[in-house]
């Protein structure tokens, strides 16, 4: 005890010193946001792209999925369900590897996906866990961007090889094969070609850890092109642990090579397979060596083997049979004759990136696709999807103003969807509605009509969907006489007007506007891009394998925003760096990009947010990653772009995709970056990274729902994530944070009366998104975490009567305490079984209540309001009648409880005193009051007065309606029966003359 005081004493003196040392950054995000937690709603039904699968070498229950944008997930039930284990770090994963010598504990994760499509994210290095994924340390490789392989020597855990593919968008020396001999502390680069050529695949001879194979790939992407292949691409072999390497090309196609894969058979290390991207179509495909790479023979060049090598090049050999080989691809291909012939894998989502065989039974297979993980039980013929991987990759989201509001958005390779922000039993797969095919991007709800706009890549189709009549019309702008070919971005921008509900904007290189929901279009701008012809050669894109999917379309408009304050003010941002503004509805345009300080030329304008406070004010964010520039850029103008001010601080890591301004506090801004959500309270002087249940996932788009103040994020890898009610952040200031306790203002809470049925089928293995809380939420800021001494919270009515006591949150920062706006449940008579109706607590009447927080010697108070649902048809007289009836039955229930308590005590004593007649009488009465036999399930006895009373009480208390005539009649029967029982009891009680000696509790004592 004494020691404790001294300890606290010392600590108290220590604090001022340390706080002096760090005067400026006084509070961190983890000390600020407290109980504010993000809510994940998926969807998981279409899941998302998987980059790498890894099975445990000895335990077939354990499997890992390294995902393209959603982190690392672990299954410990053979792939039935998965859990995320890497949320605090970069979510774009290249490779997951278990140390074969310690597979339960030691895991390596190489970040940065390796299937280098246009929309890939970036990695930030290599990580290691020595406790099965609970904690991670970084082993460097910060600039590696993409790690393709990690291999631990199965005979020596200290020896690790890492294949680094490296930067996609520019030169980098962090590429090639690296080796560590000290468990990852130091690294030596053991194979390097040049700044354009990285390691695309790495394999180790399963019998001889000194024999390694490495495929090197020359590749490069820009915002407008992709190039695969060159003189430097090659397949190498080392037999001395990576000291020396030799090309093994005997039998390879002549000329330049592209992406190569390599696999070594576990059953016979002389058997190798490679897939080769070559100059000539007929020389591409699968090659096999039966002499450990000395010679190669081409076996197959079917479409399934040669398709899009940059996207699909994985080869996996059955660990039990070297002649069974599987190749990733559009559908995935399997050969059972050593690679001569192939058939497609069974139906599943297209684009198969990795395959894993079960360690014991090769009929059990796993496949990683653009749409999640699939399992097979029959060697890849029938595939079933894993239903709890919410990895959906949104490009864009928007919300409507319905109650509950819906979220609309488009997904990488998974179409467009909308779904509710809450749903009975949680938000599950069946709550989501398909609203577009192909790759989905922007999806917008018409502001007043039940019409949704959606699109597919390059605005090849823009759909206008009449939801009520289920009619679809394509409405994209079509070529017009006298205008050049339209250039639409892969992710083509669309916008609706807040001023004219039928107005609809689309951007090509021009701004198109329609006043009739897309039926007729007018161009209202000149070419707003740089129109650089060098960046318009997409038909030549791909390198050795042509790849003109539209994904590289460039010099296009990317973002359109009409000012919410003035429909004539429109902002347009282009993918080649222009920020254009018109103040006269498109008659004149000004390019403001040259006014932006310290922004590299042509940096992609990713989003412009027109302020809702001032029409000359806007925010613009820029993404330079396609020019190999990973820095964050965000600017603000208050003069229509004449001047721009940097609003990024050193706190922000990762390039920026989106910014959202609060509607109430102009200094409260939300920033979506490649590595998560950042929040500023002071207009960008300091940014806090929000990490409460919020992974470091790429946030592509943010919207703020006006009625609920919910911040809704479209992430590219973890679906839709919602931060419910951000309103407390509006009040946070230095003054507030200096107070010991500060209660935040809150909107009146609606007493929730909706019910319904949720089915709930499939919830065992299916992802179900969380619903928002319906409780009255008491929110307050604590200056310091409460650890010692009492801290209690009461809800009182305005007369000071205690209605409820709650457990307050103790965190430093924001605390959220939920109150179900109920009083205590009634005290129920003791019977043999439960009276289920008696578990109902009555809701309080609408009104103003007081929260009283007692902390140590101090008391803090705050008032708040709960209101009835405005949609309810009950009058205030109905409400009063319902409440009075409920409370009448509540009191009756407690009165009966006390009677049974007394009766039990008398009965016990009477039994002791052997008063047979009295005992008989009491028992006979008791049997009519409460259930005295049976159980709580099908052995239940006939309900008695207690059960009837409590069930009716519960029915009325929990109903949304006023008590019905049927209910009131039932009540009157119960009242009569209770009155008779009371009479009977009084008679018996009189006979028990010994009762005064029993020292029974009073009614008030009994209720406590």
């Amino acid at each position: 005890m004494k020691k404790l005081v001294i300890g606290a004493f010392l600590a108290a003196f220590m604090l001022p010193i340390s706080s002096k040392a760090q005067k400026k950054s006084s509070i961190s995000a983890k000390q600020l946001f407290g109980d504010m937690r993000a809510r994940h709603i998926g969807p998981a039904l279409m899941s998302g792209r998987i980059n790498d699968l890894e099975v445990h070498p000895t335990n077939d229950r354990i499997i890992y999925a390294g995902t393209a944008g959603g982190g690392v997930w672990k299954s410990n039930d053979g792939g039935t369900t998965f859990n995320p284990i890497f949320d605090d770090y970069c979510q774009s994963i290249g490779a997951v590897e278990l140390d074969p010598n310690d597979p339960d504990n030691t895991i390596y994760v190489g970040t940065g996906e390796t299937w280098t499509r246009n929309s890939v994210s970036v990695g930030d290095g290599l990580y290691k866990s020595t406790d099965g994924g609970a904690n991670w340390t970084k082993l460097g490789f910060d600039k590696s961007e993409r790690i393709a392989n990690i291999i631990v020597n199965p005979k020596n855990s200290k020896e690790i090889y890492v294949g680094v593919l490296g930067a996609l968008w520019g030169d980098s020396e962090v590429r090639g094969v690296y080796k560590s001999v000290d468990g990852g502390t130091t690294w030596e680069k053991i194979l390097y070609t040049d700044q354009r050529t990285g390691c695309a695949d790495l394999a180790m001879d399963p019998k001889d850890p000194n024999t390694l194979y490495a495929s090197m790939w020359e590749f490069r992407r820009t915002g407008w092109s992709f190039e695969s292949g060159g003189e430097k691409s090659a397949l190498y072999k080392s037999t001395d642990g990576g000291k020396t390497w030799n090309k093994i090309h005997n039998g390879f196609p002549e000329g330049r090579l592209g992406r190569l894969a390599i696999a070594v058979a576990e059953t016979n290390p002389n058997i190798l397979y490679t897939v080769i991207e070559a100059e000539k179509q007929e020389r591409k495909g699968l090659y096999r060596s039966d002499d450990a790479g000395a010679t190669w023979k081409q076996l197959n060049n079917d479409f399934g083997i040669t398709v899009r090598p940059f996207y699909f090049s994985r080869i996996v050999i059955d660990p039990k049979n070297a002649d069974v080989v599987v190749k990733g691809g559009l559908s995935g291909s399997i050969s059972r004759d050593g690679g001569k012939t192939f058939k497609n894998l069974g139906n599943m989502h297209s684009d198969i990136h990795d395959i894993a065989f079960d360690i014991h039974n090769s009929d059990r297979m796993y496949a990683g696709t653009d749409g999640g993980v699939y399992r097979s039980w029959n060697g890849g013929t029938t595939m079933e999807i894993v239903e709890n991987l919410p990895l959906s990759q949104f490009y864009h989201i928007s919300v409507d103003d319905a109650e509950p509001y819906n979220i609309y958005g488009g997904l990488q390779d998974n179409g467009s969807w909308y779904g509710p922000s809450s749903s009975a039993g949680g938000i599950n797969a069946s709550d989501w509605n398909s609203i577009g095919g192909g790759d989905g991007f922007r999806v917008l709800k018409h502001p007043t009509k039940n019409i949704i706009y959606s699109e597919m890549q390059g605005a090849e189709n823009v759909w206008r969907y009449d939801v009520d009549n289920k009619r679809v019309k394509t409405v994209q702008p079509l070529p017009q006489k006298g205008t050049p070919k339209l250039r639409f971005n892969w992710n083509a921008p669309m916008a609706i007007s807040q001023h004219q509900p039928d107005r609809f904007y689309m951007g090509s290189q021009f701004l198109h506007v329609s006043e009739d929901m897309g039926n007729t279009w007018k161009i209202i701008s000149p070419d707003l891009t740089t129109n650089d012809p060098e960046k318009q050669q997409q038909e030549n894109s791909g390198g050795l394998s042509m790849d003109n999917s539209g994904a590289e379309n460039h010099t296009t408009i990317f973002t359109i925003t009409e000012s919410p304050l003035d429909e004539k003010v429109i902002w347009v941002g282009t993918d080649d760096g222009n920020v254009q503004v018109t103040q006269d509805g498109g008659q004149t345009w000004t390019n403001t990009s040259m006014n932006i300080p310290d922004l590299p030329k042509n940096t992609w304008t990713y989003h412009i947010e027109a302020s809702s406070f001032d029409k000359g004010t806007a925010y613009a964010v820029f993404d330079g990653h396609t020019m190999n520039d990973m820095k964050p850029y965000a600017y603000k103008t208050t003069d229509y772009g004449k001047t721009w001010k940097n609003i990024i601080s050193d706190d922000v890591v990762g390039f920026v995709r989106n910014i959202q301004e609060d509607y109430v506090n102009p200094n409260l801004l939300f920033l979506g970056t490649e590595f998560g959500l950042y929040i500023t309270l002071d207009g960008g002087e300091k940014w806090f990274k929000f990490t409460n249940n919020m992974p470091s996932v790429a946030v592509h788009f943010i919207d703020l729902q006006k009625k609920t103040n919910d911040l809704v994020m479209g992430t590219h890898g973890r679906g839709v994530i919602i931060l419910d009610d951000i309103s407390p952040l509006r009040e946070l200031s230095n003054e507030v944070m200096a107070k010991k306790v500060h209660f935040f203002k809150s909107k009146p809470t609606i007493i929730w009366e909706e019910g319904g049925f949720s089915g709930g089928f499939g919830g065992e293995t299916e992802f179900v998104g969380a619903n928002p809380s319906r409780a009255a939420q008491i929110k307050y800021f604590l200056k310091k975490r409460h650890t010692f001494g009492k801290m209690i919270m009461q809800i009182q009515d305005m007369n000071g009567n205690v209605i409820s006591t709650l457990s307050p949150g103790k965190s430093k920062g924001i605390n959220v305490v939920n109150w179900g706006y109920t009083m205590k449940q009634p005290k129920v008579a003791k019977g043999k079984t439960f009276s289920f109706g008696g578990f109902t607590a009555p809701k309080v009447p609408a009104g103003t209540y007081k929260v009283v927080l007692k902390k140590g010697r101090d008391t803090y108070e705050h008032t708040f309001e709960v209101v009835y649902d405005p949609k309810s048809s009950l009058t205030s007289a109905d409400r009063k009648f319902k409440h009075d009836t409920t409370m009448k039955m509540y009191d009756m229930t407690q009165e009966l409880a006390y009677m049974v308590y007394e009766l039990d005590a008398i009965l016990e004593e009477a039994t002791k005193l052997k008063k047979k007649k009295l005992v008989k009488g009491l028992n006979a009465l008791k049997e009519t009051l409460v259930i005295t036999t049976g159980d709580n399930y099908v052995g239940s006895a006939e309900p008695q007065l207690r059960e009837k009373m409590a069930d009716l009480y519960s029915k009325i208390a929990s109903g949304y309606d006023k008590p019905s005539n049927a209910e009131l009649e039932s009540l009157s029967i119960i009242e009569d029966r209770f009155a008779n029982a009371k009479k009977e009891y009084q008679k018996l009680k009189k006979k028990a003359r010994f009762k005064d000696k029993l020292s029974l509790k009073t009614f008030e004592e009994f209720l406590k």
Partner: protein, 249 residues
């Protein structure tokens, strides 16, 4: 002069905190809550508590005895329903449907037995129990700075396979008491998720400090609060209370 002295004390304190080892943190923790020797003298604890869900309350009583026996008594409508009772041999609970005692499965019982040497605190004599502790560094928990200590206990068995039993304790750097515990959930519907408990409202009971407020739940989601109203040390409990009912044997 006085000021300088205080400054020196503070500086020394801050140095020692920077160089803390897990052993020192645990030793300070026991010192601060009343001393290891006093703690080891405790023969049993009875906690009278309430589970509080948004104002809906369920009264419970928790008994923990030095010999490993345990019991939680839940009070529903005046009925005492025992859950998680361990009598030194069997782990059992009352079935809510039949209100009859039922034994837990053999694996759960075996795993439970492994924890019976953890009274009153798993860190007491952890070395002689074969446990391992490791200081993982500092982490912010509930907005407070904490030392994160990894505790590895005897391996448990999960669906027939041996697995490590690891939990992470977060000791407040100011008072050196744990304010949170996390561990991976190994079986059941939440398998693979991370459980999290938090502790606060430490208060004195006969010279020893105990948390009087806790939450239990899954990391990243709001926990279920448990408010302890009273803690009784060395309570007298009839052995029969723990025993698996004879008529069910």
């Amino acid at each position: 002069m006085k000021k300088i002295l205080l400054f020196i004390i503070a500086a020394v304190a801050s140095i020692s905190i920077q160089g803390q080892t897990a052993d020192e943190i645990i030793a300070t923790y026991f010192e601060n809550i009343g001393g290891l020797e006093n703690l080891k003298k405790v023969k049993g604890i009875k906690m009278t508590a309430e589970v509080n869900q948004q104002g809906m309350k369920i009264p419970i009583e928790i008994y923990q005895m030095a010999d490993g026996r345990q019991m939680t008594v839940v009070n529903f409508q005046g009925k005492q329903i025992k859950q998680g009772v361990y009598d030194g041999k069997d782990l059992w609970s009352i079935n809510f449907m039949t209100m009859q005692a039922e034994k837990s499965d053999a694996e759960a019982t075996a795993n439970f037995k492994l924890d019976t040497n953890d009274f009153p605190d798993p860190f007491v004599d952890y070395k002689s129990k074969g446990y391992k502790v490791e200081l993982m560094g500092k982490e912010t928990m509930d907005g407070a700075e904490t030392f994160k200590i990894k505790l590895t206990k005897e391996p448990i068995t999960v669906d027939g396979k041996k697995e490590e039993s690891v939990s992470f304790y977060f000791f407040d750097t100011e008072n050196f008491v744990p304010i949170a515990v996390q561990s991976e959930i190994k079986s059941g519907p939440a398998k693979g998720m991370v459980s999290q408990s938090t502790m606060s409202d430490y208060d004195e009971v006969n010279g020893l400090y105990f948390p009087f407020s806790m939450t239990q739940g899954v990391k990243g989601q709001p926990g279920t609060p448990i408010t302890i109203k009273k803690i009784e040390l060395n309570p007298t409990v009839d052995d029969k209370e723990f025993a698996f009912p004879e008529d069910k044997k």
